[in-house]
């Protein structure tokens, strides 16, 4: 399968006062369409930064990030926001649901940026919630759901626009083992049944074992490749 994501010679540094702090050093990485990749590494190794760069919520200091033919490093803020809305689904460690919105409304949020009618939006939201097996919880607020259920709502929100890529930053980091297994099973299903390309940052070798490929980062360097 062709590479859907090409990271070419990417460097990323942050500036604290006048001191440059390098975070990623000359990273080159290719990810195939439909691949499930786990990024592992100790804290501060740069894995979340790499995920942020691939998902277009941060920009590299140098290098190219070509996703599905588009060099997203060259896009302006507004274009990048539109690109994210249609190409990337996000899953966060702490779910990041909007507390005043119901499960239905949280999942509907990304669709408000589309031209879909209310009926079409409802169909998409119900489909997404049924995929994560929360069709009976649509009117529940986040505080009325368990951690695992909240993460499943977050996954439904991530897939509701049918993006080609899902990025997940420690998706099981805040969950008990049972809930974590449910989330990992769900992600495997999204990868296999719906052909989603998934990039998952994790500390957990058990979570990483669900991926096709695991890449390790250490001190900003991509050091190992294992299949």
């Amino acid at each position: 399968m062709p590479d859907i994501i090409k990271v070419q010679d990417v460097n990323k540094s942050y500036w604290r006062d006048s001191i440059e702090i390098p975070v990623l050093n000359n990273i080159t990485l290719g990810i195939n369409e439909g691949e499930f990749l786990a990024l592992m590494g100790p804290s501060g190794s740069g894995k979340t930064t790499l995920l942020n760069l691939i998902s277009g919520i941060d920009k590299p200091s140098s290098g190219k990030i070509i996703i599905n033919g588009t060099d997203i490093a060259g896009l302006g803020e507004s274009a990048l926001a539109k690109w994210r809305a249609s190409n990337i689904g996000f899953v966060f460690q702490f779910y990041n649901l909007i507390p005043v919105l119901t499960a239905y409304e949280n999942v509907e949020l990304p669709l408000l940026l589309t031209k879909l009618s209310k009926a079409e939006r409802r169909k998409h939201v119900e489909t997404a919630l049924n995929i994560v097996n929360l069709g009976d919880r649509i009117d529940h607020y986040p505080k009325q759901l368990s951690g695992g259920q909240e993460q499943r709502v977050a996954i439904a929100r991530a897939i509701v626009t049918d993006p080609i890529i899902l990025v997940a930053d420690e998706p099981t980091g805040d969950l008990d083992k049972h809930s974590a297994d449910e989330i990992l099973t769900l992600m495997e299903r999204l990868n296999k049944e719906f052909n989603k390309t998934i990039i998952m940052v994790t500390h957990d070798p058990h979570a990483a074992s669900k991926a096709h490929v695991t890449r390790h980062l250490e001190k900003g360097d991509l050091i190992q490749e294992a299949v």
Binding site: N52, D58, E77, S78, A81, K82, A85, N96, I98, L113
Partner: protein, 386 residues
Amino acid sequence: MKILKLIFKNTLRHKLRTFLTIFGIAIAVIAFGVLRTVVTAWYQGVEASAANRLIVRQAVSFIFPLPYSYREKIMQLPDVKEVTYSNWFGGTYIDQSNFFARLSVDPETYFDVYNEFVLPKDQLETFKKERNSCVIGVEIAKKFNLKVGDVMTVDGDIYPGRWEFIVRGIYQPKLKSTDATQMLFHWDYVDERMKQEMPGRAGDVGWYIVKIGNPANSSIVSRQIDALFKNSSAETKTETESAFQQDFIQASGAIITSMNFISFIIIGIIMLVLGNTMIMSARERTREYAVFKTLGFSGKHLAGLIMGESLIISILGGGIGVLLTYPIVAGIGEFIPKGMFPVFDIEPVTLIMAALAALIIGIVAAIFPIHRALKTKIIEGFRFVG
């Protein structure tokens, strides 16, 4: 789900804080409305002034009288249509808290010059005929439950003694700004008694009111009147009725300036209250704004969310404040002596100013939180710990 629904949900996220902010804005709008009403009530006399009326008073001070004989001389001047006169009587009606203007006037000419005091013809004729009669404004009649034929007893101070007047007329104000709280009686009646009891004070009037044909001639006629009595024992100062009223207001200038200043300080306070609420709200939602941006929402969407919330709070607070200002001003008006502020009504311009202020505050209070939300990068937003 629409963005507007999300704005409403955000507004109600901290119900107590939102309620207190709305309550604070409403109180401030009411305070603004009341203060502005006091200021405008102060200026009502100027508003009610007629352009074709001149006031002739003693040049040294308003408290010194003018000779009655001046009337005929003033009447001779070109463009002078009528001359009437008046005297501040003072005194106490029932008790000293009942403050309203009690004036001795020329019954033959006073209502010709002050045609905004509307008096039925038969009542005016009766008033002219009976020397111990009086005419009162409708507000005084209402307040003291007086009707034609009743007797009003005034204890004199400037003009000592007990004075009894029979109510022979009740005038209605022609305009909203017309003072309907005056008590008017015969100058002759007072002067006659002065001749007997205090001859040295007889034959004096307080001031003349001159009705001219063309308001454009007011400065020429004023100069001509003052020239007539130049180097006499009672030189005059003639000015338009509006300027005369302004002189009175000047005496309270510091108070009015303070009230004006305070009313605008209140606007500043509301801005800080709402600004503080919006800053707190936006700060608490830093992480959520990062989520919105991640999902593809633009700066315009975030600005709409924050501005919408700020406007809902300010419009609700302003609206409640404006609605409550009416009954509160009316209630205060009941307690203020009628003679102090003959017209104490909230003006539409005051309400428009209050509503506009609330709207502007809603916009201004959102600017800083919007700027902060837009400036914060997504990754900084996710790292934010509130």
